[in-house]
Symmetry: D2
Subunit: 346 residues, 4 copies
């Protein structure tokens, strides 16, 4: 059977979660997120990010979190701004537009937005009231290209947003991976301090489902639960989300799982680098994009699953490899050995 | 600690589900509902309802299922018709309207719609194009009042809908309870034959989350998955839904769980009836609405949780008691004994 | 040819408007409502209602005004409350719901909302966040049944809305007729003082198209123009609306036209009353609902157009007669003579 | 007073329209587009485009027409494709997105879409159901850059759309100008034959308001009127639109007005070309984009209004000049003389 490096949601969840689900299975709890586990999990997150005044809601998945947050904070004529690689632009079947809001796309080199990327958007949208009003900046960390924001970059962006009366919203489907990358100096505390809203992804970091939406800006907190219910995202058995985040936030589990995924990716990356392979982008998280010969790619495909990401020229393509909280050393070894075996073909 | 009869989603899930989640936890599977468990579970449901041509999709919860189905099948100017007690009218924060569609409300005695309830709605909406066009009939089985449709009633409604070019959509959040009620002659096969769309509820019948949306009308099947994704309801780890329905559909588990819930409710009902208690409605499913003295209600509240549903007069109110797949005999006994103890107060 | 009492928009517009359109036809003006006529017309309205701080926008028609105002002021989970006879509930093809917002319907006797009508709505919508949040009260003056609010009633409603943090929005498609009814003690100044938003209808009072939306609540003024543009309601040649309102607001023309319409309706009403005819509702504006024998209705139908509004019993029905700014004495005389001629049939 | 070349909606309407409005002012007519003038105008258009089976609706303006057409024909998960210069992308405050639909933007040189522009969009949107489904191709003729489609181009695009099951929708706000350009071989008959929907613009070609939406594809005709009403675009006094189109379609008036506008623009264009001025794009309709020195632009601004469209370098910019059905020879002469006077500065 082929081993899959296609994504970080191919397996189930961390065993601690299954254990806790079993242990608490018979307890009667209030529905709709009022259960004890959800309340405790929220407290742990607040302590961790040192932001007592933030509001936290657990939601099943990333698209759902994105559409609820964006439709909740924008007025009908306001829009979001995203890097052209943003998940909301390419991979959510128009979920944001379906709530009535445009997403303006900005070309970037590395999937990250800088103030200088946004300034031209603001300047080209001043024909009031004939154009949408940019009001929310959507970023991902780590990004869809595996890159990350460092503290200085996020501070600059946050300051820019405040200056221009824009909300800053971070899609954290892979926030664990972003924060624990070897090159990252950003902390969860920083993220809470510098964004208006963000979420802490569970689905891609050891949970079955679940993203923890954190609302830091008090103006955006009011009545948020209504939006969750209206979009069909308020689980009757909210305990399912609560138990998972409670387990993930105990000790350093959440961050350890992300570190593991990053580490496994870096092993493959370093292995390839040593052999002279080039990469589409220089990443330190659990997504890597090595450029390989089509012949090698074909042979690797016999034993492994992954996406061919981009055709570079007639003979070479970049592939995307994703490791997860559950990627075993064995899988990494099998993959590097397969490469070694085909070495002349790199 | 108080025992709760407030709803049928206070506990976790059937142990078979937890066992299966553990057993398959390490298997790598395709995401977004393409996993093997989902595919197998769908096959089991198709066999059970004898409807190979139906399409099935697993969705997290009832509000989500309702809003996706309704927004998917209606044109912008079309609307749904529902009994005034319908979940979509009262308990979903305007989720249907948020997708752009009106829901017309019809007063009924028992939460069920008959052709004669719908005819006046059609007659009063003929001022084209100045009024919304009724196009979908929304029913629940069992209903929000615990009542059920028998086969003759559903056949009559289905025929009426076909005659008037209306879609018939059954909210089956408690379909198991409806079909296994002692007084029901309706089968899952009938439901598949007589409705355009319906769903088979998991959340209220032993699953952690999950409703199986079944699309019988081929015209409504096209591209349905896009709607699920766009509304944020396509889980990356669709395996979570697949595994649950696979377990529930093995043998008769799904129906056995519902039968158990009904049986426990009937025990309480019969106990009260024998003592002369009257009920708000005559139900045979897991929801009962006994009318008790306020004094008794108060005393019961010390040991049990339940909703006070409706004030009848100065001294009496109807309460709602809900039993579940997990309501133990002990809970029933504790409750009836508590009543017995307070007997003069009934 | 039959004379039509079906509505108040069967004819063109007041001749002063045509004259002004011709006179200014060659003047070059800024587009999108920035023309001189619009600016002047707004000033005249502000003076008339003694409310300098209000914002005014001209919009083509009533449905458009309703949907823009309501979708502009509500958050996604908030809804409007309307009398069951409200235009937004019955005659706008779900225009409000199409913007995502539910409209809660309240049964009334006369098409008017009182605080005691709204209190039960608030009380039955407290299951946060599972239900929509009532936030805007929609009223019409004159109502769809021809009735009007007096000052005391509007003050009570306004106070109630402020107390419960609800917006009060008056649909003024026939505001001229409401304010100039013989029994009205309400003034335009009162309306500006007591509502958050209202509009002054042109289409049904002598204009070709046009409603003047007046936003009194400063919190609702911000960025309103964006909503108009987004809904396709910002006319390139805003001059068409500006010129019309400028003419209507010169002197007392707007109110004189409404008074004329009311007067003609009252002539018919009094004529019928003197002959013992009863009415569905006791109105003093340009809509009357006499109850006539079906035989008489049939004969009148040969020479006049009107709506048969409601079947009263086997032999009698209420009809709706609407007079307009342009209903000539001759039409009234022809109608009363036709009645006179058929008198035994009343 | 400055003469304005800013747009083609600075003045009122063609005198024939004012005459007809006056002449028919007292006639009673049915409301909501059922008036005699509307019916006659539709017949004239059908004859003119030789397409009896098409359905026609009159709507107030372009943004309204665009949003009603697009939201009416698309399913929720489908989207439109437009040149990046498209009016729906830049100048309508997100009106299309507000109805729930994304608009994919394609970079072009001249504001026109070719099959080869659309193919990559289709290819990059095949990750079903994770991406929106391109379903409607939006084009303008003449375009926002003043360019036009010739018959061969439109035939190729139409064939491509049929092949890929895409709807072809032409925004014809300036269709008169497009069809009567000296270089155009396209006819109204061609447009009716080759598009699924288009509209014939009145607002920018001599009417006060009004676009005639023509639905050629029978599948898109059903219930279209409901959408118009729901979006607030069904005028009570539809006569206002009917009378205008009836006058414009009598004889060749509509086309003569557009020809006049084109001719005046060409006079200025030729004058400038003879003097060596270059243009941003080579247009033959009523929009021209000459590149002038900033010094000259500044001097011209003292006597004329126009938009500075694009900065070319430090010393030169392109301006946009628009002529209209009403641009007198005198205005053209004043402008060319002003240029002549400043000649050394070109």
């Amino acid at each position: 059977m082929k081993f899959s490096f296609k994504n970080d949601y191919s397996e189930g969840c961390h065993p601690n979660i299954l254990r806790a689900l079993s242990e608490h299975n018979e307890d009667q709890q209030a529905g709709y997120g009022e259960d004890q586990y959800s309340l405790q999990a929220k407290e742990l997150i607040k302590v961790r990010m040192n932001s007592k005044a933030s509001d936290i809601y657990f939601i099943s998945g990333g698209t759902q979190a994105n559409l609820i947050v964006i439709s909740s904070v924008l007025r009908p004529y306001q829009c979001a701004v995203s890097a052209s690689t943003g998940h909301i632009l390419n991979n959510e079947t128009g979920a944001i537009e379906a709530t009535g809001h445009k997403v303006l796309s900005v070309e970037t080199e590395d999937g990250k937005l800088k103030p200088s990327d946004i300034t031209p958007v603001l300047e080209s949208h001043r024909n009031r009231p004939h154009q949408v009003m940019p009001k929310l900046v959507y970023i991902s960390n780590s990004t869809e290209l595996g890159t990350i924001y460092d503290r200085g970059e996020l501070e600059a962006l946050s300051e820019f947003c405040k200056l221009h009366d824009l909300y800053l919203f971070m899609d954290g489907a892979r926030l664990g991976h972003g924060l624990t990358a070897a090159t990252s100096d950003l902390t969860l505390e920083d993220v809470a301090r510098l964004t208006d809203v963000f979420y802490l992804g569970g689905t891609k970091n050891g949970a079955l489902i679940g993203e923890a939406v954190v609302i830091n800006n008090p103006l955006l907190q009011q009545d948020f639960a209504f939006n969750i219910k209206q979009k069909g995202a308020l689980l009757a058995k909210g305990r399912l989300l609560g138990i998972q985040f409670l387990e993930l936030m105990k000790g350093d589990l959440y961050f350890d799982l992300a570190k593991h995924a990053n580490r496994q990716a870096m092993k493959i990356k370093n292995f390839l680098k040593e052999r002279g392979v080039e990469f589409l982008s220089d990443t330190y998280t659990n997504q890597i994009f090595p450029i390989l010969s089509n012949t090698l790619i074909e042979r690797l495909s016999e034993d492994f699953e992954f996406y061919v990401w981009k055709k570079m020229d007639e003979h070479f393509s970049a592939i995307r490899l994703i490791t997860s909280w559950n990627t075993a050393d064995e899988a990494v070894i099998r993959f590097t050995e397969a490469i070694e075996h085909q070495m002349p073909e790199i």
